[in-house]
Subunit: 503 residues, 2 copies
């Protein structure tokens, strides 16, 4: 087979893979509408699609195509003479094929069955605040994850191959070193914030009509450039972003939380993800595996940049606060912009990661990263996890959760066997700050944001990051965008500047 | 390969087919939420699933399995010594395999592309009331349908193989003969109704709060036994029933029509279909091709039996009308049960099939059946279709549509290439009346319905019809249930009894 022919075959398989994964997306989107008795079959439907996708990537045919295209362990992108687009596609399939060949069918089924049943057990344990219910299945999962790391193989650290699934090319040692700097930075800034006195944010917890909240959020999404011709917004129990098609990107929100800004910032966060998906799917990448983020941390950098660095900035609200007051004149009667800004940027240690402010958020991640590594190495037994969690909360954040429900049981990730995922959330903050500094070199970001017309910001992000999708390795893309490797000092300076008023 | 092994292989393929068709169902269910730019890819996703299903049924392997199982043209169910369940599955695959082998891939693609683009053209033609827009593509479709009939093959009439897709085993000559009797019956009863004087149904067109309409409809659906553990209700532009899983049957309604009873009877109609789907999916048939109706006409018999024969009966409303008055005391202040019954059973010729009463409905179907046959034989050219439509409306119903929009352009079916489908709607009425007569032999139907506890009716239908799903040929099932072949006199007697007060 010629190389041209192999490439055409790979692209045809790729198109089918993308369609199948979008079809899965439709099934996941619809999940909450499935009546109780239908839940098992929906899982079987998703399982069938997974099997079809696995067959396409794990096949001998795929191995042969990749060999013809020159891909190997030290040349994942295949022949260097190929164009960037082809090399990006080849890399994606080389990595997926390689991983899928390392796990036998029996293991994959055990993993999927164990995590499948673990979800309900975890939910039950959390709602009854009883870790002992969860312990047996979590122990099984940790064993399986350890086996998976062994099967994938590693030189130094069993955490490396797990992290590599979510953040290709980044090692555990690199994360450890970045987090060690970030830990000190965040704790110092947190201490600085404590000196600025109490904040009264009670007005955020008043009664705000849901339809007006939605209208205001829609104005913000429109300003961000969330394209209704290519996406829409739904309601779900937990907010998420999902691609049901190259031109069918959907986000969800919820209105069950007491604070009026929770659904709003959640929508901005998800719209940040959606803008990435929308930008990553373009003429060059349409219906290919490249129409994705460069990595989980890169994806998170976009959601956090929009949510926190833009959405919680004074420039943003200098434009939007008058509009917010028009929507909610009674609730904000005695609230001026200064008070509003203090309320939405209140910093204080709290138990729940997803509700954490941007200063303490990274400490929640460091806690999980450290516990995951100990669980994996066996130096921490699952039965000792709740105590270890509470001790780390005390040492990192200075508080102890009043129950496991708001402690070790709060997150779903471990029940899904997804060790290695959490670090990408904090890396997203570091990427975001470094990208923002690069943007500052080209744009007067504050003036643009304060104008309420975000086109220049969006166009910059699109030009520098989004349009490439997953074409380049995340480290390479970051260097292209910012001219330097990842460095925690950008995030520190951003936080100091915002919270301590110094440069 | 042994027969046992072949049967097990067939069942494994069958399970995958059912999962794939349910996955398609999810995509169709979600269709109205797709943003404009996403429409093309959604069609491609459905096309991919169709292709997967086509590959499974048209394969050489399937042909070999069916041969091993003893299936042939004159023995579609395979070896007579097999059990009914296996024979039902074999028949389904024999028929599908046989049809799919008779059409080559190029034809299938042309058919699908032409009908795909025809849908928009038809919608545009209807909204602008311009048949000339639709004429060229409809001509292409009629040509393609004729080629399809030729490819399927037939002894006497090209309409036979088309009808056989929807109503297996029923010939055009049989339908012609039944419809000839039905035409006379319906015209006589219609004339009789005209003598009973005018009906004032203006109160049905008042303002009725949508949430109360939904609550009342839910009470009716609950009484019918629509199981919320296995299904739910949504809103869409056109009401439909769809299976997204063996235990995930959904119906839709709409509240855009001016009469308060339109959404209600539409919901009862769809719930009738849903009860069939729910009953057809049971321990014996779960996740097999048998978990379907025995035929389109059998399916329609259930929806029409519930909507008209039960839902518009005096017995039904002797129970539900007091409740309806509780929901809507102001709108029904001067309305008693007699007036309500006259209003919801008003008979008069009208243009739109889906809004027709149960007396004139069959005449709309006869019109379409006759025109389809002429189009197919070539004795009627597509350009002469509007005139032919209007002439038949005059001769059958005594009215002439004021525009093509409410005439020849009203239905979507021809744009989908689905000739042979319409007769099943009217056959559904005939089946329904014959089934109701059989039910009368075992149950005092009026007393049961008047009690508001429909369990005995539902259990009878389940025991006699639903639980078998598609296991038996429709003619065989009707004989099992009613002891006789299909006969139009049951429907005539039902209508006479109801509308002319005679037996």
């Amino acid at each position: 087979m010629t190389r041209e022919r192999a490439l055409a075959t790979l692209e045809a398989i790729d198109r089918e893979m993308v369609l199948l994964s979008h079809i899965s997306g439709v099934l996941v989107w619809d999940q909450e509408a499935v009546p109780p008795a239908g839940v098992d079959e929906r899982a079987a439907q998703l399982g069938l699609l997974d099997r079809k996708m696995h067959e396409l990537t794990a096949s001998d045919e795929m191995g042969e195509l990749l060999t013809i295209l020159g891909a190997s362990e030290h040349q994942e992108e295949g022949d260097p003479s190929l164009d960037d687009r082809s090399r990006g596609i080849i890399r994606w399939y080389y990595r997926t094929h390689d991983r899928s060949r390392k796990l036998d069918a029996g293991f994959v089924q055990r993993f999927s069955e164990t995590t499948g049943k673990a979800h309900q057990v975890w939910a039950e344990a959390r709602s009854t605040n009883d870790f002992s219910l969860y312990e047996p299945v979590l122990s099984q999962i940790i064993d399986l994850v350890r086996q998976k790391a062994d099967a994938y193989g590693y030189a130094k650290d069993p955490y490396d191959p797990l992290l590599d699934v979510f953040e290709p090319g980044t090692s555990t040692a690199e994360v450890e070193s970045l987090f060690s700097v970030m830990r000190t930075d965040l704790q110092e800034i947190l201490a600085g914030c404590a000196d600025t006195g109490p904040v009264d944010d009670t007005f955020l917890y008043g009664t705000y009509a849901q339809d007006k909240q939605a209208s205001f959020a829609n104005e913000v999404l429109d300003a961000m450039g969330f394209d209704r011709n290519r996406g829409n917004v739904g309601i779900s129990t937990h907010p998420f972003t999902i691609s049901l098609g190259a031109h069918d990107i959907r986000i969800t929100t919820r209105y069950t939380e007491p604070s009026v800004v929770s659904p709003l910032f959640s929508s901005i966060h998800e719209a940040g993800h959606a803008l990435y998906e929308l930008g990553a799917s373009n003429k060059t990448t349409h219906l290919t595996c490249l129409a994705n983020g460069a990595s989980f941390a890169f994806h998170e950098s976009q959601s956090r940049l929009w949510e926190n660095m833009i959405g919680r900035s004074r420039a943003f609200w200098s434009h939007f606060f008058p509009r917010f007051k028009e929507y909610f004149p009674i609730q904000t009667e005695y609230v001026d912009l200064d008070r509003f800004m203090r309320a939405i940027n209140r910093v204080r240690p709290s138990n729940i990661r997803v509700d954490a402010d941007e200063v303490t958020y990274g400490l929640h991640i460091i806690l999980r990263f450290e516990l995951e590594r100990k669980l994996l190495s066996g130096s921490l037994a699952v039965r000792d996890l709740p105590d270890a969690w509470n001790e780390k909360m005390e040492s990192l954040l200075g508080i102890t959760p009043e129950s496991d429900r708001v402690g070790v049981l709060q997150d779903v990730h471990w029940s899904m066997g997804e060790l290695g995922y959490f670090p990408t959330y904090a890396l997203g903050n570091l990427y975001g700050a470094q990208i923002l500094d690069a943007m500052h070199r080209d744009l007067d970001v504050e003036s643009v944001v304060a104008s309420g017309d975000f086109h220049p910001v969006r166009n910059w992000l699109d030009e520098k990051i989004l349009r490439f999708g997953a074409m380049y390795r995340p480290k390479e893309l970051l260097e292209r965008v910012t001219g330097a490797p990842l460095d925690a000092t950008h995030f520190r300076r951003y936080l100091e500047n915002k919270y301590l008023g110094s440069n």
